[in-house]
């Protein structure tokens, strides 16, 4: 086996690098699709509402309702989809 070519990673100008953290990604997803209202709650409540909101999203998308930001949930949040909110408001 030849030594594998060292792949050079290049930063492409204008590349929309979605280097959002998983938490930021989850927060914006839950708000955008109506699982979590956009009101900012105090720290403690926001944790409850995020977990509760995650459970609602997992139920809507037919995922295991763990209330956790696990891999299956993150993958679902990265998939292309319709822009209509899941929770009518």
């Amino acid at each position: 086996w030849s030594v594998p070519l060292k792949s050079v990673f290049v930063t492409f100008p204008g590349d929309v690098i979605k280097n959002m953290s998983d938490t930021d990604l989850a927060e914006s997803y839950l708000k955008k699709f109506g699982y979590m209202d956009t009101l900012h709650r105090s720290g403690f409540q926001s944790v409850v509402s995020t977990s509760k909101a995650l459970k609602r999203m997992q139920r809507q998308l037919g995922l295991d309702e763990t209330g956790q930001l696990d891999t299956q949930t993150l993958d679902a949040m990265k998939r292309p989809r319709c822009g209509v909110p899941d929770v009518a408001n």
Partner: protein, 581 residues
């Protein structure tokens, strides 16, 4: 399934839609067809019908846009949000928007319809072999004019079948130049451009001038995407440039080198190292048909479903042989009920797209209009030359007219001894039927065709092998059509087209003759075959007439409209587009 709060739905079943603009990713005929099939998904299981409008306001207004596209919900570039739609209602409600930063296909990679060549508009076949070399994209190899072309079979060397690929060197979309191709270089705001540009626009669409000076002529069009058009990146849809140099190495095709996400990209100039211009290569793309069927579900009143296999599930996934899930069917039938009969006795007025010629088997001439109740005796004085007849004899129930023609600029529809007149342009109301025998007493009940001589204003009427010529109230006839030089094999004249001052084309079966009205003789070199000169229209049209600068060929309830360049630019329903029912 879920419906929107308050079970929002349309309060009528004949829903209308209008396509406001097109994505440069697909040929407009492919987009028309994808939307028509997406509506059919829903009309197949409900009493709903979908009619396409070409102007004015429709219930469902369809458009493509990028990022901020005119409503409070901006799109987000490639991937992520693909489209959205609003529940039924007025204004923005019911509309559907598609993100044009996506790469729209039919779900399995670039859909490249060809133009000209010898493949009658067939799609490109990738990969194909040419000159012993394999090509996975359109190429200008072998051509001095640098026009990109492709084979429509997998081996050009063997089959010789090819067509030209969409490119700004061939045509443009929309704009104000009737599809004329780009002119390079062109001047815009004093600068010279040698390729399409997004300069001057904030919606990211690439455009060009169709004359050498936009500042002077203001003629422009949007550039169609080539099959190698890049997506995202920083080149605004410029096509890949092959070969291009990256990190000192030359690449002849897309690569994922330099990226950690495995996405294929290419340089859009000869050297990425020098110019840093790049974009993502076309991938499988998103099926416009599937996404549209989903969005139209919203526009009809369905919210998202949590059934993974349902069409109304929010996430996109490509399905080869699509069919509605029972969850979708239950949802839409909860709102509108089931289909009232297994097969529509009168085909749904889902105006066929410009490419989908209506299915001739659909024409069932059995559904004659119901016999009308005896009309109430009208005691008001008639104000017209003929006694208006039973006003409830509705032209909208006539499946096939005996003939349609233009007299004095108005459209006349003849059927069984009656005629209806539709004056002027636009939506003026149709006059109620009149008796032919009252205005033209010498004529029989069934008229096969008629025309008004441009110069003398004489009216020619044809029925069977006879014809009559009216000059005001005076009539000459009946006389045999052989007097005009038509052969005795002609059983009836089915259409007439004025050509210039004193020529008229007379149509019968699949032939047409040119009559010199002044000498009352048929010109030499005729008959000719209709499909040789008027490509794309049915050769068994039973009505042919000229109206508002277009030539109309009618068969049953449909018409094919041909523009001055002899291109069929619309197929529709006589009932909806001409009678304005």
């Amino acid at each position: 399934y879920k419906t929107f709060d308050g079970d929002l739905k349309w309060d009528h079943n004949d829903v209308t839609y209008r396509i406001l603009n097109y994505s440069p990713d697909l040929d407009s005929s492919v987009i028309d067809d994808a939307f028509a099939r997406a509506f059919k998904v829903w009309s197949d299981v409900t009493p709903l019908t979908f009619t396409r409008l070409f102007d004015g306001t429709a219930d469902i207004m369809i458009s493509f846009g990028k990022k901020n596209h005119g409503d409070p919900y901006p799109f987000d570039g490639k991937d992520g949000l693909l489209a959205h739609a609003y529940p039924p209602g007025e204004g923005l409600q019911g509309d559907a928007h598609f993100d044009d930063d996506e790469f729209w296909t039919l779900g399995k990679g670039p859909v490249v319809k060809t133009y000209y060549g010898n493949a009658e508009g067939a799609m490109c076949r990738f990969p194909f072999v040419f000159g012993g070399k394999t090509y996975t994209t359109c190429t200008s190899e072998g051509r001095a004019d640098k026009l990109p072309w492709c084979a429509t079979t997998d081996d050009y060397d063997k089959d010789g079948k090819y067509g030209f690929c969409p490119s700004e060197l061939l045509f443009t979309i929309g704009g104000n130049s009737d599809g004329a191709k780009c002119v390079f270089p062109f001047v815009f705001l004093g600068d010279e451009y040698n390729s399409c540009t997004t300069e001057g626009r904030n919606d990211g669409y690439r455009w060009c001038a169709t004359t050498s000076n936009f500042d002077q002529d203001k003629k422009y069009g949007f550039c169609p995407n080539r099959d190698t058009t890049t997506i995202g990146g920083n080149s605004e849809g410029e096509p890949c440039h092959f070969p291009f140099v990256f990190l000192g190495k030359e690449y002849d095709s897309c690569t994922s080198e330099g990226r950690g996400d495995g996405k294929l990209w290419c340089g859009t100039t000869s050297s990425y190292d020098d110019d840093k211009k790049w974009g993502f290569c076309p991938d499988q793309g998103y099926s416009l048909f599937l996404v549209a069927a989903h969005e139209f579900g919203h526009a009809l009143g369905l919210d998202h479903s949590n059934i993974r296999e349902a069409l109304m599930y929010p996430m996109y996934s490509y399905v080869e042989d699509f069919s509605l899930h029972e969850d979708d069917i239950e949802g839409i039938q909860y709102l509108y009920g089931g289909k009232t009969d297994p097969k529509p006795t009168v085909p749904q007025p889902n105006t066929p797209t410009t490419t989908a010629i209506p299915d001739p088997d659909e024409t069932d001439s059995t559904d004659e209009p119901e016999p009308e109740p005896e009309p109430e005796p009208t005691n008001h004085p008639t104000t017209t030359t003929s006694t208006p007849l039973d006003p409830t004899k509705d032209a909208c129930n006539v499946i096939k007219f005996d003939t349609i023609t233009v007299i004095g600029g108005d459209l006349y529809f003849f059927k069984d001894g009656h005629y209806w007149r539709k004056s002027g342009k636009g939506d003026s109301a149709l006059k109620s039927p009149m008796l032919i025998s009252e205005r033209w007493p010498a004529l029989p009940a069934v008229i096969d065709s008629a025309f008004e001589d441009v110069l003398t204003k004489r009216l020619y009427f044809f029925s069977g092998t006879k014809f009559w010529v009216y000059t005001g109230k005076n009539v000459l006839g009946p006389r045999s059509i052989e007097k005009l030089g038509l052969p005795d094999s002609v059983q009836k004249v089915e259409g007439a087209l004025q050509r210039g001052q004193n020529k008229v084309l007379l149509f019968s079966a699949e032939n047409f003759w040119r009559l010199d009205v002044k000498t009352q003789t048929i010109d030499k070199g005729y008959p000719k075959f209709i499909d040789v000169v008027f490509g794309g229209v049915p050769i068994d049209a039973h009505e042919v007439f000229q109206y508002e600068g277009h030539t109309f060929f009618c068969r049953d309830r449909f018409y094919w409209r041909m523009n001055s360049r002899r291109q069929v630019d619309r197929v529709g329903y006589v009932k909806y587009d001409l009678l304005k029912c």
